[in-house]
Symmetry: C2
């Protein structure tokens, strides 16, 4: 089926526009362009008009109400770098604007095979003249610095003059909303335009971030092409103040049209010594290849992408579309070079200020590790490059050894202003370690463990040793940390954190052993100061790690004191009091058994071997009753674990909530950007949930189930150099080894050899 | 002995000046004037040049790094209102300045019987001319709005012209230090001069706080008197910009002198509808009485004050002086009207921004309740007047009923920016309730309980009921609160908080019963919605209140999880890492057994009947080892409890640390203001500690001990309309009923009747 997503509405109401700015944004992992209307929105309606570069930031003050020792008081923030999307169209003196005249058609399309967005408008001016405007936009995967607009105007029922005014404005600020803690509270001017000049058909601007000193170049090149007898009368680029303004005048016959090709190139001083020079060189390349070349390359890139992660759902088009959309958005969001990562909102908006969280490693990397391990490796390498800053961060929090990765960051510096549910979320250390291990298990890439993984595992393990201690019973305990659930903070022995730390410690030993056995250790022990004694200490702590268990309820308490608190009465909580975080002081929330998101339940997915199925079932049902899913990271996890526990209906219901989160804007904030972690979680809900895929040291196993409304589903993944396809229908699961060496996998617990015929069909089980 | 405190130094070094600004400040509970040098300090040296009005504030933004729901984002801050202390002296063209010329004598004196400060300087100008400057300052207890300076210049070895330039500057800002969390981080201009004009010998200025809108008038009146043949040549007041400048020119013969009398009157719109009108009227009163009248009244006021709280230590002059100084400072600090209270730093400086904390009720009111109950009552009435704001504050923290007093405030609004060790310190509710109860027990003033106490007890009790819940064992528990020790935050069942809440609940029932029995209830039940069921609920919760006890150690753990944490190694902590709060991130501190101050130990003083002596001894020794006393509220408490537990040497050592805290600047921040709570604590360390005074429902009891270096000590106190004197020496304790009805008290556990002879001498016990 076609991977196309379309929305039509002739209602010029701005609410939908605001959400569409996110849903129809273009991004390639380097640049992101919000899907804002070329002509701008009506006055007074909400818009976040932005173009961003992944990893391009300024440092802004973050004043603390009370400045205690080593509190973070400045943060990195992703900057809006320029507005190069503005095009205005004037038809015989009447300006195109969806609020005046009549909108006869307004359709927006995201084509996920071609990698473009398209906007089609038919508009009747107050005078009765009708035009059709078609705008095609692309951020190129081939040329990461390129954002293009092809803006075509056609005279439908008249002959007349059309003027196109295209603006290049590097003098921009960021969006702000002081009422929402998830957005920047103040719109500060952080970018100074240092220079802007015209050069032939181009305008070139250099701007500099005020505190970080980073420089960015935006270059805009215009070309006007008349079709079917239209005639270009004049066109020119001029600099007006701090803006580049291109004006093209065209005479259109009835039925004829004109296309403005706007090529926007971006370059920044994180990646280039001379951003302007690079942008000019890259424009030359683009002009010599021509835009159609990049359309072709875009399609080819996506063909390759989909070939490894193809996913089909038979019998549920809505879900199919949602899943495809989510995977495409993840591709758009992921950095394609080693200077950046994947922000919580990708490059689709300014929510969470472009920061990277645990979301990347825990929720998104599993997708890439299974479909594009090279990309996963690059993202892990980026995290590894911040290890020194993580060591500094550990020091700021009083640790004498080890590294603590920041809760939110761009360059590796902690940017969380509320440490209670920020820096205190030590589990991010184990999440990152887990991602390295998962990458190794899935790819077998031991060399990368030698290069980066071992050091990350070691330094995170050292942190656990410095953080934790043995209690009088001989248990290894981790006190005063915050687990994934942000409605409970600064507790002792958060189950998730402890079990994740245990895994972290164990795998530090395993990877070290594997490196030694493979003769890859070299001087690593000496270089990193690893001693047998230290490793033995890791082993003892892992062995003794306290994993809270309540005999009476037969569940894992979220932490030492969780069960002693009263249960929040969700039934009696008014509907408009959700999400609770916007309606209750955190101190109040901390006093109840109420969860923003999966916490212990997430541990059952990631570290499933630590508890019996009975314990997990009881815990699942316990936590389900007290979880609000106010976090977008929650329902996907509840779906995965429901699948694993055989709770099929719940698995499907939670999956549905997760899959459509952004498309239906169920969290009411998709206007500020997509929820990338949920998109990764949604993928896992199918592959690791419904299909029951597990990739462990012992190999691959599957235990598929089929949601009852589906006829079947298919997906592909890569494993240690092989490409596999899994197809599930009502009768059977068919596994095909599309490429790579023979393999034996387990299906429903039985070993199945994929050799010779390379395709096996196994009966479904209940 | 004379109550005089003197410091001399001819070293113009500014460090001592900065501390002396605090130690020699003048205050009367309404206005406070830092003891800054009239001529100003040398450039580049630190000074906090300020005059303050108790309860006069502006509201300033307190931006939160991350603005979560109902976080406090603005605060009240005490304003520096004007500089009326500046006087410059020019001797034949040479300006008096301690950095030029030669300082031959520089003595500062605080006379606590006369209620004045005096500064005496003998200075030789570079030309060799010597002058003697004497400055006498007073803030009047008789006329609270009056601050006076008598500035006398005497020509010692020359004949010549002296010019006195006296400035009245209402255009001032507050002090700031961004590196210290206990001070304002930014000096903002919060006061706008609305008008300044000259009127005869006066300059009158009106200024307004920018956000609160409060207005303040400062009025300065000058009079010049020549002595011994000196001749006034000219004098005039003029307005230069926003300042009033008085210039007086005098010709002095050798040995003759001139005195500038500077009368400064302050009035504010919290207390007066027309501050300027009131200031002018009060100046008229002062002029008609003359300054000597106010000196006499000052002395009489202090005679009365000392007569009720006389305290003598025989054999330890240093301690004697320290104790007298502390009591005097408390008198200076305490509001004398119902518009304000006692700030953490009194009116001596800007530390903690003029905020009122639990310090007032817990550490200072006990002194006034025993020596000046009328003043205590007024301070309690002030707290009562903020009850509605405390109800609002409870609502902001999610409580459906009850009131929660703010952790720091001026008008009753929460001004704490870091809720973790601010608003979460719920114990302040019980501390305030305790002060009401203590006032009642000591005075028998049931009418005031009817007027205010009952409602405070009720609303605080309601808050405990809303905060707490019953656990599965049937214990009433209080979760996620912060106790007095700020190095451990957001814990379950802090021992101090729980036992204090229990007392609060019990006394709500008792006072209600007493009011009913006295026929004073009236319509109070109806008015406050009190039902028998609610009262029964209080009783059940108090009865079931969980008071943590550790069987193994036989101590009361500070909270549920305290003992599970590792013990901080104080011995290995570098000396320059104290106070820990300036060197370690709070999250790090929270993870250890380390206490900033007395917490459980404080509970043993205030609620001593809950535990056996053995438990208290073991706990005391346990907590002593892990307490840094980084808080100024700590050593006094350790002293009191040591006395009660018979640990005499410890009691004396801690008392010494407490008594001289400000005089020796042992916490290195007395420059920013005195530590009023410690001063109150120091008083209690003698009266409730060494002398073992207990005032309970059953009456008064004493169990004195004598510090081994002392020959004896004496003190007075009032109890239910009686004035008592207690004198302890090596052989005996002598109790004298100086005024009031017969009384029976317990000494060393035995009942002693104070009737007939009204003085009893009882042998000391070991």
């Amino acid at each position: 089926m076609k991977k196309i997503f379309t929305r039509s509405s002739v209602d010029p109401g701005a609410k939908e526009n605001f959400l569409n700015e996110t849903l129809f944004h273009n991004a390639n992992g380097y640049i992101g362009v919000r899907g804002c209307l070329e002509e701008g929105v009506p006055n007074g309606t909400d818009t976040m008009r932005g173009i961003y570069i992944n990893g391009f930031y300024d440092i802004i003050p973050m004043k603390q109400a009370e400045m205690l020792c080593n509190f973070v008081d400045k943060k990195e923030t992703m900057l809006n770098i320029a507005d190069t999307m503005t095009v205005n169209c004037v038809v015989d003196g009447e300006i195109f604007d969806i609020l005046t005249g009549l909108v006869i058609k307004h359709t927006r399309t995201l084509d996920m095979e071609k990698g473009i967005t398209k906007r089609e408008v038919v508009w009747e001016a107050p005078s009765g003249k009708q035009i059709e405007i078609t705008s095609v936009r692309m951020t190129s995967f081939e040329m990461l610095s390129l954002f293009s607009i092809e803006y075509t105007v056609k005279a439908l029922n008249f002959e007349g003059d059309v003027r196109l005014i295209s603006v290049h404005n590097p003098d921009v600020t960021n969006y702000s909303d002081p009422s929402d803690p998830r957005l920047a509270a103040e719109s500060m001017r952080n970018l100074d335009v240092k220079d802007i000049y015209a050069d032939g058909e181009s305008s070139i601007a250099i701007a500099q971030a005020r505190t970080s000193g980073l420089r960015v170049c935006s270059l805009v090149h215009h070309a006007l092409t008349a079709h079917d007898g239209a005639a270009v009368r004049s066109n020119a680029t001029e600099i007006l103040g701090k803006q580049g303004v291109y004006t093209g005048n065209v005479h259109l016959g009835k039925g004829s049209s004109v296309t403005l090709e706007k090529l926007c190139l971006f370059s920044d001083s994180v990646r280039a010594r001379e951003p302007a020079g690079r942008a000019v060189r890259e424009l030359d390349t683009v002009l010599s290849n021509g835009l159609p070349y990049y359309y072709k390359k875009q399609e080819a890139y996506l063909k390759e992408f989909w070939s490894n992660c193809e996913m089909e759902i038979d019998g549920d088009d809505d879900m199919q579309n949602a899943v495809i959309f989510n995977m495409y958005e993840l591709l758009q969001s992921a950095a394609k070079d080693s200077h950046a990562s994947i922000a919580a909102k990708g490059l689709s908006g300014e929510g969470y200020e472009g920061h990277y969280f645990w979301d990347t490693e825990t929720f998104i990397l599993p997708f890439f590790t299974l479909t594009n391990p090279a990309l996963s490796k690059m993202l892990l390498r980026y995290r590894y490059s911040t290890l020194d800053k993580a060591r500094e961060n550990a020091g700021l929090l009083g640790h004498k050894k080890g590294a603590l990765f920041p809760w939110r960051t761009i360059t590796g510096t902690e940017c969380s202003g509320y440490f209670v549910s920020g820096s205190a979320a030590y589990h991010i250390n184990a999440d990152i370690a887990y991602a390295f291990v998962n990458y190794y298990i899935t790819t077998g890439d031991l060399a990368f463990m030698r290069e980066a993984g071992m050091e990350v595992l070691l330094e995170t393990s050292r942190l656990w040793m410095d953080l934790g201690c043995y209690n009088e019973n001989g248990d290894f305990v981790l006190n005063v940390v915050t687990g994934p659930d942000e409605y409970t903070c600064m507790v002792n022995n958060n189950y998730y954190t402890n079990v994740a730390a245990k895994y972290n410690l164990c795998w530090t030993l395993k990877i070290h052993r594997l490196l030694r056995e493979a003769g890859l250790l070299g001087d690593l022990d000496e270089h990193l100061g690893i001693t047998d004694e230290e490793l033995a200490g890791f082993g003892r702590a892992a062995e003794a790690m306290l994993l809270p268990y309540d005999e009476h309820l037969g569940i894992n308490p979220q932490d030492d004191s969780f069960l002693s608190k009263p249960v929040w009465d969700l039934a009696k909580t008014p509907k408009d009091h959700f999400p609770l975080l916007l309606h209750y002081h955190p101190l109040h929330l901390y006093r109840y058994q109420v969860c923003k998101q999966a916490d212990t339940v997430l541990a059952y997915f990631m570290f499933e071997n630590e508890q019996s199925r009975d314990v997990m079932i009881r815990s699942y049902e316990y936590y389900e009753k007290i979880t609000t899913h106010d976090s977008s990271l929650s329902t996907c996890v509840f779906s995965i674990v429901a699948s694993r526990l055989g709770l099929k209906e719940k698995a499907y219901a939670y999956f549905g909530d997760s899959a459509k989160l952004d498309l239906l804007n169920t969290h009411s904030n998709s206007m500020h950007g997509i929820h990338t972690a949920n998109m990764g979680g949604c993928y896992m809900a199918i592959v690791n949930g419904f299909a029951g895929l597990r990739v462990t040291e012992e190999g691959i196993s599957l235990a598929p189930s089929l949601p009852k409304d589906w006829n079947g589903y298919k997906f592909k993944f890569v494993y240690r150099g092989r490409l596999l396809k899994v197809a599930i229908d009502k009768e059977a699961v068919t596994i095909t080894l599309l490429a790579g060496d023979d393999l034996t996998i387990r299906v429903f617990g039985k070993w199945v050899g994929l050799e010779g015929k390379r395709e096996k069909r196994i009966q479904m089980e209940e």
